[in-house]
Symmetry: C2
Subunit: 309 residues, 2 copies
DNA sequence: GATGATAATACCTTCAGGGTATGGAGAGGC
DNA sequence: GCCTCTCCATACCCTGAAGGTATTATCATC
């Protein structure tokens, strides 16, 4: 049996007349007769009663008509769904984020992706950088977000954004009164650092910047993530260098100040990592969306700078 | 697309290797490669990633594999079900019976049919003879059971059984004391007749027999069916000629007596009626079962008569 | 019995599916 | 680093099945 047989059968059943069905199928009558005969022979059941006016379905034929329509619908659905899956418009995408990624552009990005690809089921997993890389290799995830990732042998990196580092200071802190805060000014003030855990990470970046400015930071506390860090700033534990995006987090008693005279490298990247050579169209679609968001954001930043000037 | 494509695709997906799949399908490798390429092109989606060791499914391929298996299962099911339907082993059979047919061999017959053809859904309808014929013509039913049906232009008749007529008498009735009851003895006793309604029917048979024996029956009451008739006998309304099968109905105060010296024609037929030229395999199967039951019953009757002698 | 409509049959043609031979690319061993 | 082995892909040929035309058979209707 063949899908053609089903198509022909359905046409004949609907027309109740082989000649008319043949016309509808754009073939001549004899081949259609033969196809129907073949189908009947293969099924071992008479599907039509031949009448002087045409044909009519037997009971077996009625049953087979239902089944044939089901099958055809399923084939169409399979075709359509597979096409969409092939274009990355249908399926599942496992994405890893890190703890305080919620403060970042990631939510907007995920929303943008969902609206472009509503039938891709995005599943979020919270993982540290090391876990993300491991999970990528084991194919438990296809995309990860993190900071400061170097491309590896089998891991590729797309940069999502670059953020300046701002200083979160308690409102009543001496530095809060300064007109301008320069990086070396941080020398004499206790700092909250984050994240604890896997190295190298953002914490190393901050320590490295301090060292480059000629001092060792006074660490008041190390915490797991930016949210806790800013909370400790509010509690008077000291100042804290945070990515600009953390300013989303407005806590009473905390103000964010941009530094002047920042040393080179006083910014932090957000990266999107994935398997090198991953040919998944969903991953490709996701990366496209990421880049689109990045361009859009860059354009907006440029525009606002223009206006600012 | 073609069912062959699905079969080939599933084989390749399962073997993860085109060459091995080709061997399994008993074709050579190049045509299989080409079929897979065609399928991919038609779907507009890559289904396999070519690896040095063979092939592996893409996400779209995984999805399509599920769908393909569904489709194949549905096709197999459709084939199998249609075959059974063509053999009369699957489907629906609308059967009409008359009011007191429950006393007859019909229940056993229906049970026999159900056990032979468990997937044929037998739907029972209670109808009078005229209604049955009308319903047959309108194709609302395919088989009817009734008594005394003459074959018509478009209605064919199979005889199911022949039953002697017995006399239901009240236990305290004068005739109950007779050693032998002959037909003319009924002359002086009021009789219950059934059924009322559509003529000609069983009632005419009884009246005709009385006339043939030279008397007009004294009708005490006409009722709709045998059950009511026997109930009236129990209530002392008189005697009642009933088909032998009615003896299934044992009411207190009623005894059944076989007549001696019965006139010719003192029996009644049970018939099975259906449309002439009905080619439904289910009807054919049903008629076969009816005839098988009839033969079996006749053989049993013969055997018991031998033993009786 | 003639006519018209419809399915079935006979026979021819074409093209898709299958075959063999071969090329090309990547992995793994020496 | 080269060779070899193992895949898949390509090239080209051949056969059979699907489709076409012409015709016949059948049945209902006038």
């Amino acid at each position: 049996m063949d899908l053609r047989h089903l198509r022909y059968f359905i046409a004949v059943a609907e027309e109740q007349n082989i000649g008319r069905a043949a016309a509808r199928l754009h073939i001549s009558q004899p081949p259609l007769t033969r196809q129907i005969q073949q189908l009947e022979e293969e099924l071992g059941a008479r599907l039509f009663l031949r009448t002087p006016r045409g044909v009519e379905l037997t009971e077996a034929g009625e049953l087979f008509l239902e089944e044939a329509r089901n099958i055809r619908a399923l084939v169409e659905q399979a075709t359509e769904r597979t096409q969409r899956a092939g274009q990355g418009r249908l399926g599942r995408l496992d994405v890893a984020i890190f703890g305080s990624a919620i403060l970042d552009r990631i939510p907007k990005l995920l929303l943008a992706f969902r609206s472009r690809y509503p039938d891709v089921n995005v599943v979020l997993h919270t993982m540290t950088k090391v876990e993300q890389i491991e999970a990528l290799r084991q194919r438990r995830i296809s995309v990860g977000f993190n900071r400061m990732v170097a491309p590896g042998e089998d891991i590729a990196v797309d940069q999502v954004s670059t953020e300046d580092l701002l200083l979160a200071v308690p409102a009543d802190h001496p530095l809060a009164r300064h007109e301008r805060i320069r990086f070396p000014d941080l020398k004499h003030h206790p700092m909250v650092l984050f994240p604890t855990g896997t190295r190298p990470s953002f914490i190393d970046k901050v320590v490295g910047l301090c060292n480059a400015s000629g001092f060792q930071p006074q660490v008041s506390q190390e915490v797991g993530d930016a949210v806790t860090g800013v909370a400790l700033v509010a509690g008077g534990f000291g100042v804290c260098l945070v990515p600009e995006s953390a300013t989303t987090l407005q806590l009473p008693g905390v103000i964010y100040r941009r530094l002047t005279d920042t040393p080179p490298g006083c910014f932090v990247d957000l990266c999107c990592i994935y398997r090198k050579g991953d040919k998944s169209p969903i991953v490709a679609a996701f990366r496209e969306t990421v880049q689109a968001c990045r361009s859009m954001h860059a354009a907006q930043a440029e525009a606002s700078r223009q206006i600012g000037n």
